[in-house]
């Protein structure tokens, strides 16, 4: 958004050359701070570690999925199947565990199976030439069906999971749950890589102008394929954490999750046209949605209103973005 003013001394203090979104991130933080201050006065329960921990917990695991989605959006794709894949990963590893496999191996297989779903989608997108939307829409339905087939429609009860495994989702370092630690580590790693790693620079090139990327010798199909796989893999990883946290695998879990995740990434600045977006922004988007939800609950607003309000926030964020872009050009 502030294309011109930056960096008369290039490279020094300036952020990655691909970044234009710092204004938006500042804006999101400002909105969130304002909301938090207002809520502190409105409800005595808001500004407590307990409430913040609950908020963080509520979006930490989804936040891992947001990371993958944001990278996929930057390359110009989209994945509607993430909710189903999260569930698939839970169900596959849960079922393998019940068949007697140790839970760690079962989890690795679950994540591998999720990556395989991504690879199949990647195949249809890059080799057959379908678009991401339709391919992942089909995958969403197919994978959900698989979950129901594997579980025969009933939740798998996994209370026999060993304590060491359950600790991932339920344990904590003193006051800080492992889940939050894992989330922060994943976000930090991918945010850093996306800004700095050469491999991820190719993601921006491909999403910004695929043809120009090809004309620069970048193998754009490979880039798209691997990003699709990455997104599904992260969804599978999130599924394992959910399984550990809930000690169960429900075949209907995660339905509708994709919409929340895409909304967060887009509020945080990812463009559906590809070429722009940041992990940090997307997480801020997710955090904003979470603060809003938490506030609405604390203010005793009916659940029926919550989705409506979230939808309006999405619309407002995208409209502001559109307005800023139009004014620029």
């Amino acid at each position: 958004m502030d294309a011109e003013i930056k960096a008369s001394a290039p490279g020094l203090g300036g952020r990655n050359g691909l970044r234009l979104g710092s204004m938006r991130e500042a804006g999101l933080i400002a909105i969130m701070l304002a909301l938090c201050i207002a809520m502190t006065f409105a409800s005595p329960h808001f500004l407590t570690w307990g409430n913040f921990r609950a908020m963080l917990m509520s979006f930490s695991i989804e936040g891992i999925v947001v990371v993958g989605m944001t990278i996929l959006l930057i390359v110009g794709g989209i994945d509607l199947s993430v909710g189903s894949v999260v569930c698939f990963s839970m169900v596959v590893s849960g079922a393998l565990f019940l068949m007697g496999l140790d839970p760690w191996t079962a989890s690795l297989i679950g994540i591998g199976a999720s990556a395989l779903i991504g690879a199949v989608m990647g195949f249809f997108v890059t080799v057959i030439g379908l678009n991401h939307f339709i391919t992942s829409l089909a995958a969403m339905v197919i994978v959900r069906g698989l979950c129901l087939v594997i579980t025969k429609g009933t939740p798998l009860s996994l209370f026999t999971l060993p304590p060491g495994f359950k600790a991932i989702g339920q344990g904590s370092f003193g006051n800080v749950p492992y889940v939050i630690v894992i989330f922060v580590v994943v976000v930090a790693i991918f945010d850093f890589l996306l800004r700095r790693a050469t491999a991820f620079r190719k993601v921006f090139y491909t999403g910004s102008n695929e043809k120009a990327a090809q004309f620069s010798g970048i193998k754009t199909k490979q880039v798209k394929f691997w990003v699709t796989v990455l997104c599904s893999t992260l969804a599978g990883f999130a599924g394992i954490i959910y399984m550990s946290r809930f000690g169960a695998a429900t075949p209907t879990f995660g339905a509708g999750m994709e919409l929340n995740i895409i909304a967060a990434a887009v509020i945080g600045g990812a463009s559906l046209n590809g070429g722009s977006g940041t992990i940090f922004g997307a997480i801020l988007g997710m955090a904003l949605l979470s603060v809003v939800t938490s506030s609405l609950i604390l203010l005793d607003v009916s659940v029926y209103w919550q989705d409506m309000i979230k939808g309006c926030i999405l619309l407002a964020a995208v409209s502001i973005d559109h307005f800023l872009h139009r004014r620029k050009s």
Partner: protein, 513 residues
């Protein structure tokens, strides 16, 4: 003067935010004239067109059409007043038929609930036939770019226009197609339509137009009768300074060498078609001419590994190289600038620095797989400063730069890998005169430093002014080779249109070399 005026613009100003696009400009269009409007990119030509066409509203000033003051509030208001605009970029519904496109406005205004295709086709064909025999049932996507351009013009004509504005109509046309368009424009003029003609090309302005108005930096500079000025006068008024030499000095005969930088032997990209062979010598700029669709881009893209080749071999500095993918070509030192800057050249929403690094990321990657940002900034600074790109910083988004500066960024990217041969496809398309001169100098400079330069151009004056030697392509084959002293528009066109062949001659030249 006012008596014959059909359109008078008085003292129009227009700002976009803090940017003043037009400052108190005047413009008078006489009845039945072809009036050229010139200026560098950003001079305000398009803004004025948009105001006349009702797309933008002036902040100040008045418009008089046939003596009456008018306010043109929307494109449809402009249409009702008989003002038509043919945009520089083709904006047709690609999947709809020619007829549906031509009569889009009429269909839109139709009250009846159902389409009457028979009448639609008949009406559209009547209009289309004024220009060219294009069957109106054809989907637009099946037409060549030049025919699509004619459909755009036909669309403007349906509006019974009195004033027709053409914004760089020949930008995507070859010489023959442009000639056909000129005949059509003259015919429209003979039918009493007054035409505003925007173009960067002096040659066509001087052969087609009656008067010329020059804008610079959003201000009116002058209006002259074509008979009373020279192309150099017009260019000088456009850039506001003397451009002593439009094209850089060519390679002097004594410095000419026979040392080949690039030799292509029997290269073919289509099964069953004869291969092409040519040699690029050190220090020279080799031009490639021919009609659009003759296979010029295909030929060089095959050399660079951007298209699979059926046969043929490539040697760089006498060493055979195997090029299967474009990465192979880049590694060998052979780089290509695509003709469509926006669609396949640049990453418009990314920064200048990252645009420049795209071609060789490996060089900028640390052993840990991270991008070395200091090296990236240094490389970009070196290349960009050397080529005088005007911008506020390396983080500047490329889309905010002018066409000329964008093109310099694209060329800087090619140079980032230290190439042995650069191949440029239409390097100055859509670039204003000042930047064009700078790009030409840069290319000559590269050639003098021993880098092989191949330039494909559809603009004959550029091909002639810049090249030391020109290869002419017709239907995928090299049909002729012209040395610096044989370069004339006529000679190139005769070869390009297939009227003359001279390749056997060229082959001998090559065998000697």
């Amino acid at each position: 003067m006012t008596a014959a005026a059909i359109l008078e613009i008085r003292d129009i100003s227009k700002s976009f935010g803090a940017i003043k696009a037009l400052t108190g400009v005047d413009f008078t269009l006489q009845r039945g004239e072809i009036h050229a409007l010139c200026g560098e990119n950003g001079a305000g030509k398009s803004t004025l067109m948009n105001i006349i066409a009702g797309i933008a509203q002036p902040d100040e000033g008045a418009i008089r059409l046939e003596g009456k003051y008018v306010t043109i509030t929307s494109p449809s208001a402009a249409q009702r007043l008989g003002i038509g605009l043919v945009h520089q970029e083709i904006a047709l519904c690609q999947d709809a038929t020619v007829a549906e496109n031509i009569l889009m406005a009429a269909v839109n205004n139709r009250r009846a609930p159902l389409m009457n295709f028979r009448r639609l086709y008949a009406d559209a064909q009547r209009i289309m036939d004024l220009l060219a025999p294009i069957p109106v049932e054809t989907p637009v996507a099946d037409l060549s770019i030049s025919n699509q351009q004619l459909v755009e013009i036909a669309k403007a004509l349906t509006l019974e226009c009195r004033v027709l504005m053409l914004d760089e109509p020949t930008a995507a046309l070859t010489e023959t197609e442009a000639q056909r368009l000129f005949a059509i424009v003259r015919d429209l003029k003979a039918r009493g339509i007054s035409i505003i003609y925007i173009s960067h090309r002096m040659a066509e302005i001087f052969s087609l137009c009656d008067r010329v108005t020059v804008f610079r930096d959003g201000r009116y500079v002058a209006t002259d009768s074509i008979a009373s000025v020279t192309p150099n006068d017009v260019v000088r008024k456009m850039v506001g300074r003397e451009i002593t030499q439009l094209y850089p000095q060519k390679l002097s005969p004594e410095r000419r060498t026979d040392r080949p930088v690039l030799s292509v032997e029997n290269l073919s990209y289509r099964q069953g078609s004869a291969g092409v062979s040519f040699t690029l010598r050190a220090g020279e700029i080799l031009g490639v001419g021919g009609l659009i669709g003759a296979g010029r881009s295909e030929m060089v893209q095959t050399v660079c590994g951007l298209r699979p080749k059926v046969s043929g071999s490539v040697e760089l500095n006498g060493e055979p190289v195997s090029i299967r993918t474009y990465s192979d070509a880049v590694r060998a030192g052979l780089v290509y600038l695509s003709e469509d800057r926006k669609a396949s050249g640049l990453f418009l929403d990314l920064s200048v620095a990252s645009n420049i690094s795209a071609l060789d990321l490996r060089k900028l990657t640390t052993p840990l797989g991270l991008l070395d940002r200091r090296a990236e900034a240094k490389q970009a600074t070196d290349l960009v400063v050397r080529h005088g790109v005007r911008m506020s910083g390396l983080e500047t988004q490329v889309s905010t730069l002018s066409g000329g500066n964008q093109q310099k960024v694209a060329i800087a990217r090619l140079l980032s890998v230290g190439p042995k041969v650069v191949i440029l496809d239409e390097p100055t398309r859509g670039v204003d005169v000042g930047a064009k001169v700078e790009i030409h100098r840069l290319l000559r400079d590269l050639a003098e430093r021993g880098i092989g330069v191949i330039v494909i151009s559809s603009e004959l004056p550029e091909l002639i002014g810049l090249s030391d030697r020109v290869l002419v392509i017709h239907e995928g084959a090299i049909v002729g080779e012209l040395g610096a002293d044989e370069l004339t528009e006529e000679a190139i066109m005769l070869l390009a249109s297939g009227l003359r062949q001279q390749r056997s001659n060229a082959r001998q030249v090559q065998n000697v070399a």
